[in-house]
């Protein structure tokens, strides 16, 4: 998967100031997310949101966490891509050192990872951080 880097995303979004362009960008990222085959939409990988669902599968390779994610809503897929840019194929140390709240604030999308949002994004972030801690231990 060719993920943009967090710096590229920050640069891209900085140029887009009206909401339509910004969310079109996120929607396009979401569409480009490879996602998971339907057969992998299993209960054990599911992070249930009140409005949309997210699936997360992780594996460890060469000391890095490989993450595979999907959602049934395309905007959430786009937001997941932002999260993946920060966390996918990174070491547990890198994951735990990354300030995700600051990143989302820089993107002016901090409202998406507040606990009030029913899209499961906060839960995914928490889960990835927990995986990183476990693999460190």
């Amino acid at each position: 998967m060719n993920l943009p880097s967090t710096d590229e995303i920050i640069d891209d979004l900085e140029f887009l100031d009206d909401w339509e362009q910004r969310y079109q960008y996120i929607i396009d990222l979401g569409k480009a997310l490879p996602g998971l085959p339907e057969s992998q939409h299993k209960e054990e990988y599911l992070v249930r949101g009140c409005q949309s669902n997210v699936w997360l599968i992780s594996e460890e390779k060469d000391g890095k966490l490989l993450l595979h994610v999907d959602s049934d809503a395309v905007i959430v897929q786009g937001l997941l891509t932002l999260v993946m840019a920060a966390y996918h194929n990174k070491t547990p140390e890198q994951i735990l050192a990354f300030d995700i709240d600051h990143y989302f604030a820089q993107l002016d999308l901090e409202n998406h990872i507040t606990p009030t949002r029913g899209n499961g994004l906060r839960a995914i972030v928490g889960k990835i951080q927990q995986l990183a801690k476990q693999s460190q231990a």
Partner: protein, 405 residues
């Protein structure tokens, strides 16, 4: 006379604010309604001028608070045509009302008894009964719906039996807008000697309720769905059934006498209202009802019918849009799905345009499963919505689809 909607909107301060820099189009009324200035004033006035605890004060303010609080009960009793004021029990909302009744029913049910609910239940009127049945060994029977989202009344009659101890059903479905023929179904259930409860959370928002005409034993609703404050609701129960109903919460206010080892219970309504009640909420709810009563019920109905009719018409003209719930008798709710777009995406992109709807399972997961949809987008209408807002909804949907295409 038709409603002067512009004059009504003037009375709702929140309808004049902007969200995301756009004028608010509030179409989430089945979740909660906005509050007119009259209700806001009643709450402010209560806390500014009158706040005191009720039923126990030896002072002026307590007397006045008690008078206003009990006058609120009278207002509700009149509005729903209760035969006695003591039949009106204050609760925190519909959910607590149903729990209060289910708790009592669970104590009386025995193995072999049956409880009837419908496939269109909100979780509040499903999980309560499911758990009451689990506790008591009774059986939960679920009346199916038809493909159009109406209740299968034939099946309702077929499932009723001598074993049916209790029937609980929604007046109006929150997810589909279906209006159930509750009077006819209540009569059928009463003929089998079953007790009947109506979940009125959505019913109360769309016109005056006459509990005696319905003939049910219990009717529960929430204040916030009828322009009142959150945290206040009403359980109405027929006096004869309610007077020795198993107690619910215990504590202050609901007792007659207390010793260290024992207690006796007070009379209705106090015996089912433990603790300091939501006094301001009750007064606010009465203000909401008095506010609503100044308008002609037929005018309100005509207005809401026109909003839904126009919304349905525009929905039918939208390619790839499927309306979820086509019952012949429905009100207030347009639930829909769009090809190739998740409801959450639609809701999100409408929100960015200032349009508030609800998306998801509407606290009715088994119903969504039954309808084979992951959830729906739901626009729900109220007295202050306009036909222009309905047009804006569909303009918003058009834009959302373009972005998602």
């Amino acid at each position: 006379m038709s409603l002067n909607v512009a004059q009504i909107r003037e009375q709702f301060p929140i309808l004049h604010r902007q969200v995301h820099g756009k004028p608010l189009v509030y179409l989430d009324n089945a979740a909660t309604t906005q509050k007119p200035q009259a209700v806001i004033n009643a709450l402010t006035d209560y806390y500014t001028q009158c706040n005191a605890n009720v039923h126990r004060g030896a002072h002026y303010l307590s007397d006045e608070a008690t008078r206003r609080y009990e006058a609120a009960r009278k207002t509700v009793a009149e509005y729903i045509n209760a035969s006695r004021q003591e039949e009106v029990i204050w609760t925190s909302g519909t959910t607590e009302g149903i729990n209060l009744v289910a708790n009592g029913v669970a104590q009386r049910l025995k193995t072999g008894d049956e409880v009837l609910v419908t496939e269109m239940e909100h979780h509040a009127n499903l999980v309560t009964w499911q758990q009451a049945c689990k506790r008591s060994g009774a059986t939960l029977k679920v009346v199916p719906i038809n493909e159009d989202g109406s209740l299968n009344t034939e099946q309702f009659h077929a499932l009723l039996s001598e074993n049916t101890a209790f029937v609980s059903m929604p007046h109006i479905s929150n997810a589909l807008g279906t209006i159930n023929p509750i009077k006819e179904l209540t009569a059928a259930a009463k003929a089998k000697d079953a007790l009947v409860m109506i979940d009125g959370a959505q019913g109360v928002a769309h016109g005056a309720i006459d509990v005696q005409d319905i003939g049910c034993d219990f009717y529960a609703f929430s204040g916030h769905k009828v322009f009142g404050p959150t945290g206040i609701g009403v359980l109405w129960g027929c006096y004869e059934v309610l007077k020795d109903w198993p107690i619910w919460l215990v504590g202050g206010e609901m007792i007659a006498t207390v010793s260290y080892q024992d207690a006796t219970w007070g009379e209705l309504p106090n015996r089912l209202e433990a603790g300091t009640p939501n006094i301001a909420g009750a007064i606010g709810l009465a203000a909401a009802i008095n506010w609503l009563r100044q308008y002609d019920a037929a005018d309100i109905l005509a207005h809401e019918t026109a909003l839904l009719a126009r919304a349905t018409q525009l929905a039918e003209q939208t390619d790839g849009l499927t309306i979820v719930g086509h019952a012949a008798k429905k009100i207030g709710v347009l639930s829909f799905i769009l090809d190739g777009a998740h409801p959450a995406d639609i809701g999100f992109l409408l929100d960015k345009q200032g349009i508030a709807i609800r998306t998801g399972d509407h606290c009715a997961q088994p119903l969504m499963k039954r309808l084979n949809v992951p959830g729906t987008a739901r626009a729900s209408f109220s007295i202050y919505n306009t036909l222009d807002e309905v047009e804006m909804l569909f303009e918003g949907i058009k834009k959302a689809r373009l972005m998602l295409a």
